[in-house]
Amino acid sequence: MQRRFVYMALILMLFLSCEEYYRPAIDDVSGMLVIESLVTNDPKQNFVKLSVTDNFFDTNTKDTLINANVELLEIGHGIIPAIEESHGYFRFTKTPVPGLSYKLRISCQNDIYESDTVVMPPLPMIDTLYTEFKMEKTFRNDTYGPVTQIDIPVRQIYIDAPITPSLEYYRFNWRAILQWNFSPASAGGVPPPAIYGWLSVLNDGLFNLAGPKQHSVSGKVEKHPIMYLAYDSKRYLWSSEQSGSGWILILEQYGISKASNDFHERLNNQLSAEGSLFEPLLNQVYGNIHCVSDNSKIALGYFAVNSYRQYRYFLNLGYDEKSEMVQRQIFRYPDIPQYGEQAGVVPYFWEN
């Protein structure tokens, strides 16, 4: 009886709110130019993508981009042209140099767009990568059931990185590749070959940003969380006959400017909006690219020249927190597809 009373009071106080999908009537408006750039010292990450916005409820993407031209101005040194490898996708022929200043210029449909001038930071580095056991609390929001809390034993991955006068902010991206294998049952005779497969877990959530903590004078990025991996690899696999064989963690570190950090923070604010009662009024996320030929036109997106470094680690978590864990940095960087499998032959990138 007492418990019923307690829950009734709790329901009255905290469970009164509810949230539901909402589809308002929104105006159709003309599209705006979107500029996505990833310009780094890595030749594979040295491009600009141009696109056009779609109306919010449209399911078909507009394709109205024609006759666009992209170039990178290396201040004091010349122009680096971009080659359009596919519709809206432009790759630069030369990588930028740390310490130099750059500006992006785009001409599109009789308009000229230019970015602010940005400086490429020095190459980034991390001091160390380490892991800790953690019980991750998540909430499962079933379509057919109530919200339930789930506790998952995981290994949380952290890094420490330096903060210097010339480089204070970082952005991290990662891909964790789970190696798995499977030995098919034999029907008699020569057993079929083992299957070696892999799948990727990507960072498609918020932008992972690191830098000086607000109000803190700590001279480094300390115990910055990157991501976590569950001990039970079967959470990622689709068959009980598959067995995990360790993880390859690809950690991408970008050295970014404060302006770029602030821009990505604003994006994170937008992406993480929970409808909290006291959230600030919604604001636009404007970048640093402007239409110089027509002030009234808005360009979305951001231009930054980032320094880049990649780290790879092999991680074998064991079964639980009492198991011995293997962590080893990998110094080879083959291309690894997102997922796949092959029979009988261990993939070329396989780690043990």
Partner: protein
């Protein structure tokens, strides 16, 4: 020998007759007062009569068969005959009458022809000793008139005797005296808003009596004229007065009456929604209302992030809200003045009362504290037990959460002679809130005031108010991983004021008020303090602000003619932003930001860094119409020098205040209103139509991505804007009857515009756009029904336009994530808001003599479970099955999406 003339004989005879008559009348009186002694045991009545006849020479006339069953078993010791006979025939079917000077006639009741006034009241109140019935010709009734529910005295109640036309009224303590002939009467006892009591009495001799009246209707009314000694002017319009009783009757969330939210049922007053602190009056921001308790302002008006009002409803006497026509004695805020008057304490007896609810409870004790009962006190408090409730839960989210508040309030009222009165008030509150996060929010108010009223002479009254108000907020922020990164953020505000008003009433037609006010502000915009030692956190502080505001005012409230009343006033307001401070000068050709600073000036302590001043005319006019009712108009100009900085839709406890300074101009408002007011059917109904227009200069808007917390130069994130509001308010109310209530409809618009030239200071391309408080349509309906003396029902229904909202209009992919581009600010509107609340109350016992009185209130807030959207937001939600298969969607959050029942037990001892 002299012969007697005829005239002299006649004179002599007349004198003789007169002497005889007098003798008889004296004898008649004497026969009543004849003292009877004797012991009679089981004596038949006939035998008793025979004894009296023999011993006292008194004749008895009767029919034998009437008295044969009567037996006398009494001992009389010098008891007047009238008392003896009254004792013998008390509650019997026989009665008596004296005849001539030596006889008594015995007869049966109902045939005596004694005059009665024909009342149909079943109960007869006997005043005096029944033994003395018939002994006196007249008597005086003294007594009180009380509220039958709470035994509070009713001043100004009328006691009327229709037969003779004699009547009187109760004084300020509810006392009255009335002289009437003895006998049976019916008195009419009445008081505005209460059922008329027709009480049959048998008046025998002087006596004391109490009459109890019960409410017939609610006291909520759009009051435009008050009593003779009231503060409101004769031409006052746009004023609302709510009594504490009315406020408690409205069905509300969790059964707890809310002073602030009860105002939302009136035209022109709105709120952003549930869980919102404060109110919006005629489209104004929440910080444009000056809410005062006994003259001291309140800066945070809610507990638990908007769940409960911070003002204890049990301590409230009444609430007055000025929406327009604000008197010259008030300033500081442009939209409204809410004057909450707290009770002084019961002058007669100690009273203890309170309420027990599901989440919180409250108690109050009041009464006189000196023997002569001239000085009184009241002390009350509230607290929640939500923390205990959450700890009993098995849910980890709740076990690790904190949500509680408490508040204590008290008043002391000293009656210092006939002409002086001193009232002291104190209030203290504290809130703590943490919902399973690393951030603990704590905040609190400390408020005090002293009011000294002096009647200097019959025409001169002086009022001195000293007040102090302090608000503190603290956020304890714990880092998830590094303890050395923990810190606390502290903000706050202190307010001190002295206000003096001299009222001069030279004659009935004039009332002149003059006075001055001085206000001191200290604002603490923010301070970061490390929580651990050692710590990675550097202590940081945004410079405090100190300022002084002064006001001098005068107004004259007078009758221009029998049909025209006028109030003309003016207030001079002066504001000085003081040092120590550093004032930055920005390049006028650039947007204000850290890169456009061209100069700076340092001001020492108490040096004036910036001064503002202005004249604030106030005018109101009433014109009585031939057809009944009145036409009114008002104009006011007000400067506001303090603004609350908040870029959320709802005010939160973390929001801080900012004074006008060299880079932020004061807000200026001009409001003009006209209205028609009528009370048809002799006050049974009340109707009004009001139209207003308000112009606002120097509103504050916020730049995109404005960072407000710990911002040392917040002017760089603010945008100067202008705006206007206009509206039509319709109101109709039934004051009396078992069924009563009101309906109000408001059509209003509130628009804003930024008029700057720099790109980051332009919102919506300089076009006018609706403010977040813009709600074009608003309907409020309140219905009350007194089912019986102990049962009453109350319901209210509200319907309003949804508030403006900014929605994503376009989407695009950026670095593999879907990002949106929002529409113009406040371009869209949320779905309409509507809600029905009901409550039913049972009073346990209404008997006056019963010490403990309790009542049960069962209420349902949001009766049909309307999911009124509180906010609309955009979020990734892969589990939702969407037709268009996009992972992101728009959601709406309803704070109260289900019916909320509650039970509250209120008691009084």
């Amino acid at each position: 020998m002299k012969y007697l003339t005829t005239s002299s004989c006649l004179k002599t005879l007349s004198a003789f007759v007169l002497i005889l008559v007098l003798h008889f009348s004296v004898s008649a009186q004497n026969i009543q007062e004849k003292l009877i002694s004797g012991k009679f045991q089981k004596t038949s009545l006939q035998e008793f009569f025979n004894t009296i006849e023999k011993d006292y020479n008194i004749r008895f006339y009767y029919r034998t068969e009437w008295i044969k069953t009567y037996v006398v078993n009494q001992e009389f010791k010098e008891m007047p005959l009238i008392q003896v006979l009254n004792l013998l025939f008390e509650r019997q079917s026989l009665t008596f009458r004296f005849f001539q000077n030596n006889s008594v006639v015995i007869f049966q009741k109902g045939v005596d022809g004694r005059p009665t006034t024909g009342s149909d009241e079943p109960e007869i109140l006997v005043i005096g000793d029944p033994l003395n019935e018939g002994r006196y010709n007249s008597a005086q009734i003294k007594g009180k008139v009380l509220d039958g529910k709470n035994s509070e005295t009713l001043a100004g109640a009328v006691i009327f005797h229709p037969q003779t036309g004699i009547g009187t009224t109760t004084d300020s303590r509810g006392n009255f005296k009335l002289d009437l002939p003895t006998g049976d009467h019916t008195l009419q006892v009445s008081f505005m808003g209460y059922e008329v009591l027709k009480q049959k009495i048998k008046l025998i001799e002087d006596g004391t009596v109490s009459f109890e009246l019960f409410e017939e209707s609610f006291n909520l009314e759009e009051v435009t004229v008050m009593g003779e000694d009231a503060k409101a002017s004769k031409s006052q319009m746009s004023m609302i007065k709510v009594s504490s009783r009315t406020m408690k009757e409205l069905p509300v969330m969790m059964g707890e009456a809310d002073v602030i939210k009860s105002m939302v049922m009136m035209p022109g007053v709105q709120s952003v929604g549930e869980m919102s602190s404060g109110i919006n009056v005629r489209g104004g921001n929440t910080d444009q209302n000056l809410i005062m308790m006994d003259g001291a302002p309140v800066f945070n008006t809610s507990h638990l992030f908007g769940f409960f009002s911070m003002i204890n409803p049990d301590a409230v006497k009444d609430v007055t809200l000025y929406k327009g026509g604000i008197p010259a004695s008030y300033g500081e805020r442009v939209s409204s003045i809410m004057d909450v008057q707290l009770k002084e304490g019961n002058t007669e007896n100690l009273k203890f009362y309170g309420g027990i609810g599901l989440i919180n409870s409250r108690v109050t004790l009041e009464g006189p504290f000196v023997k002569n009962k001239k000085s009184t006190f009241l002390i009350g408090g509230r607290s929640t037990y939500s923390d205990w409730i959450m700890r009993q839960s098995q849910n980890e989210q709740f076990i690790n959460s904190v949500a509680h508040f408490y508040d204590i309030n008290g008043t002391l009222n000293f009656s210092l002679g006939e002409n002086n009165n001193l009232k002291l008030m104190g209030y203290f509150s504290n809130d703590a809130f943490n919902l399973n996060s690393n951030s603990l929010y704590t905040y609190g108010n400390a408020i005090g005031s002293a009011n000294w009223k002096t009647n200097i002479s019959k025409t001169l009254i002086s009022n001195l108010n000293l007040s102090y108000s302090k608000y503190d907020f603290k956020l304890d922020q714990k880092d998830q991983n590094i303890a050395e990164d923990d810190y606390s953020l502290i903000t706050g505000l202190q307010y001190s004021s002295m206000k003096y008003i001299l009222s001069w009433l030279p004659n009935e037609r004039h009332r002149v008020n003059a006075g001055f006010q001085t206000i001191g502000y200290r604002v603490f915009p923010g301070k970061i303090v490390p929580s651990t030692n050692p710590s990675n956190v550097i202590p940081e502080k945004v410079a405090n602000e100190q300022s002084l505001e002064m006001g001098a005012f005068i107004d004259d409230d007078f009758d221009l003619s029998t049909n025209i009343a006028l109030n003309i006033g003016v207030r001079y307001a002066r504001f000085m932003n003081m040092g120590p401070t550093t004032v930055l000068k920005y390049d006028p050709n650039q947007s204000i930001n850290s890169g456009s600073v061209i100069d700076s000036t340092v001001f020492g302590a108490w040096k004036t860094a910036k001064m503002f001043h202005g004249i604030e005319p106030r005018l109101s006019l009433k014109f009585n119409l031939q057809s009944g009712g009145s036409f009114r108009m008002s104009y006011q100009r007000i400067h506001q020098y303090m603004n609350q900085i908040s870029n959320t839709a709802v005010i939160s406890p973390a929001d801080f205040w900012k004074s006008a300074d060299a880079n932020i101009d004061p807000l200026i408002s001009d409001q003009f209103a006209v209205g028609l007011f009528k009370t048809p059917k002799k006050g049974l109904f009340e109707t009004s139509v009001e139209v207003y227009y308000k112009n606002l200069q120097n509103l504050l808007e916020y730049k995109n991505g404005a960072l407000l917390v710990m911002n040392h130069h917040i002017e760089a994130d603010l945008i100067n804007a202008d705006g206007y509001s206009y509206g039509l308010e319709l109101f109709a109310k039934k004051n009396l009857g078992r069924l009563n209530g009101w309906v109000s409809y408001t059509y209003s618009r509130t628009m804003r515009q930024t008029n700057n030239n720099f790109p980051d200071e332009i919102v919506n391309a300089k076009k006018f756009y609706p403010s977040v408080y813009d709600k074009p349509h608003d309907i409020s309906t309140v219905l009350n029904y007194q089912i019986s003396r102990r049962w009453r029902f109350s319901g209210n229904f509200v319907l309003s336009s949804g508030r403006p909202v900014t929605l994503p209009e376009q989407k695009y992919i950026f670095e593999e994530r879907q990002v949106v581009y929002y529409s113009d600010r406040n371009k869209y509107r949320m779905p309409p808001y509507h809600r029905l609340d009901v409550s039913i109350t049972l009073d346990e016992n209404l008997r006056k003599k019963r010490m403990w009185k309790g009542s049960w209130t069962f209420s349902v807030y949001n009766f049909y479970g309307r999911k009124n959207p509180y906010s609309v937001f955009y979020r990734k939600e892969p589990s939702i099955q969407l037709q268009d298969k996009t992972p992101y969607a728009i959601f709406k959050l309803s704070v109260i999406g289900v019916p909320v029942p509650s039970i509250t037990y209120n008691f009084k001892f």
